[in-house]
Symmetry: C2
Subunit: 352 residues, 2 copies
Amino acid sequence: MKLNIAVLPGDGIGPEIMEQGVAVLNTIAAKFGHEIEYKTAICGADAIDKVGDPFPDETFEVCKWADAVLFAAVGDPRFDNDPTAKVRPEQGLLAMRKKLGLFANIRPVQTFKCLLHKSPLKDELIAGADFICIRELTGGMYFGEKYQDNDKAYDTNYYTRPEIERILRVAYYYARKRRRHLTVVDKANVLASSRLWRQIAKELEPEYPDVTTDYMFVDNASMRMLVEPKFFDVMVTENTFGDILTDEGSCISGSMGLLPSASTGESTPVFEPVHGSWPQAAGKNIANPLAQILSVAMLLEHFDLKEEGILVRKAVDASLDANVRTPEIQVDGGKQYGTREVGEWIVDYIKN
Amino acid sequence: MKLNIAVLPGDGIGPEIMEQGVAVLNTIAAKFGHEIEYKTAICGADAIDKVGDPFPDETFEVCKWADAVLFAAVGDPRFDNDPTAKVRPEQGLLAMRKKLGLFANIRPVQTFKCLLHKSPLKDELIAGADFICIRELTGGMYFGEKYQDNDKAYDTNYYTRPEIERILRVAYYYARKRRRHLTVVDKANVLASSRLWRQIAKELEPEYPDVTTDYMFVDNASMRMLVEPKFFDVMVTENTFGDILTDEGSCISGSMGLLPSASTGESTPVFEPVHGSWPQAAGKNIANPLAQILSVAMLLEHFDLKEEGILVRKAVDASLDANVRTPEIQVDGGKQYGTREVGEWIVDYIKN
Ligand SMILES: CC(C)[C@H](C(=O)O)[C@@H](O)C(=O)O
Ligand SMILES: CC(C)[C@H](C(=O)O)[C@@H](O)C(=O)O
């Protein structure tokens, strides 16, 4: 297969983990005889510094050229305590989502046996939990009409039927590939937008008789995820609720540093770690490259390169089992490996 | 002291737990020489069935007459899967909040040593956690302009400066009574309404130099609450975020069935359990009355009846220590007490 890949390393630890992600992708390509062409582009604070725009047109062009985007992370503390700053790295993220039509954010929440002790939840609750959160990513309050002056402000949680229907169909698609259980999360007892979500979901339900659909209010979902995470298989929700619930979901696994995500939609899909840019660790060779490497696995699987994806996952599991780990997940007294060393170990594993 | 109390038992287990709450309040009144006049009023599904309105005018009048409302719970499964039903019990709740101007919902998140094993979080994370969530309760998407037709829908997350300022002042008031640490939770990197919240908080901050104020994005707060609940002292946020975060907070304590709450504002304050109406348990004498009884403690403390409040709390702790508990929190093999028996034990304890 021939793939064009846009590489967006972004800020903080982004460039370091991206290096390992690309190395893994190259190794897979060589082993399986795929041809990959890369173009690297700037985004985030890096792009603000260089050209004053966190998602410049040239970067957008590279993304359109590509079959898939491999993204690392954006964000810089210089902008964090200044929410009124005219240009912020996050705007680059939102612009990318909107311009590429990335309406579906897919986040597998998976546990790793050897990291269960890292979960804030009791082991017996979380062991074996395995679900995916699907978040609508280009609608709702993030993009609805906004207003702010000194005395009042508003955001509009606006959704249209086609926006809701397409994300629900994505959710059903994943439910069918998994345990055929879909939970639609909303606040239909209060919000008009949620009532439309629920109405449309109820209309689609008969088309997927092989999937069990249930409905849950968002406040309840935030609790259920803690007291019974194994209840969930596929969960789907709107943008703002999804922002909160996907982070909660990632965090309960205890493996947030290892979780990848995919955002798909109308054009080029984007694969990226769930974690952020961790600016304090930048350049120190201590960041965990596994989420970036597992994002490569998701990318491969997206193009139906199943065997390739499985091999990447196997290599990651092997590195964990061999205790080849970065400091934050290393066992007490274990040797602490660097970002590069973990990446190289995985590359070697794949080669052999 | 003379107090007029409106009693709103509502639905499901409401009447049973209310009976115990009132019994405790009467016992305290007798012991300390206070005079209490009660008026009982209908609300929720019960009121829909009787008069077609979940918060009828007569109930509103009783609330206005009262110095405080003791509320139990509303909600009935008959209405749950019909979010488009014209009249629903929840509307009674929202009407009560709006009509009484209950803009501040205060939820202490407290752990009970003997119930730590009930928490989904690891014991060492949750032991000793003690914070309060303050949720704005009469603004935002719950009450902003709404629209829905077959093809589109929206809700408006609208806030004005006075609405934001008054809830932040409530939060600072509580922070000063506690460990002087306030966390303002918003999504100022995306939402205009959140930016106004943050702007106003930054303006107020200098008036409270003795309180440490910090700011956290809501997605981050939902994680921090799990990985470091002891970080928090007082957390304040807008209505929708508060709906999710207060439930998450209650649930991590492992003692949700025991947590009371207060809603205060422009007129009569309301005191109620955090848990719902648990219709499946109605009439079975198995519901835990402790959250209702602790709501009585909050009510007493609201009127500065400190000694009285402390005695109620002491009685509750004593009942737990004596293993006089309802089924859901009883230890393995322990005798399971009924709603009434737990209430009577606590009344006896207070008397002697
Ligand atoms: C940085 C921020 C704008 C973004 C969001 O809220 O979508 C982030 O929290 C995420 O979840 O990807
Ligand atoms: C029943 C519902 C309308 C209500 C809310 O969302 O405010 C409830 O969840 C709560 O938190 O008190």
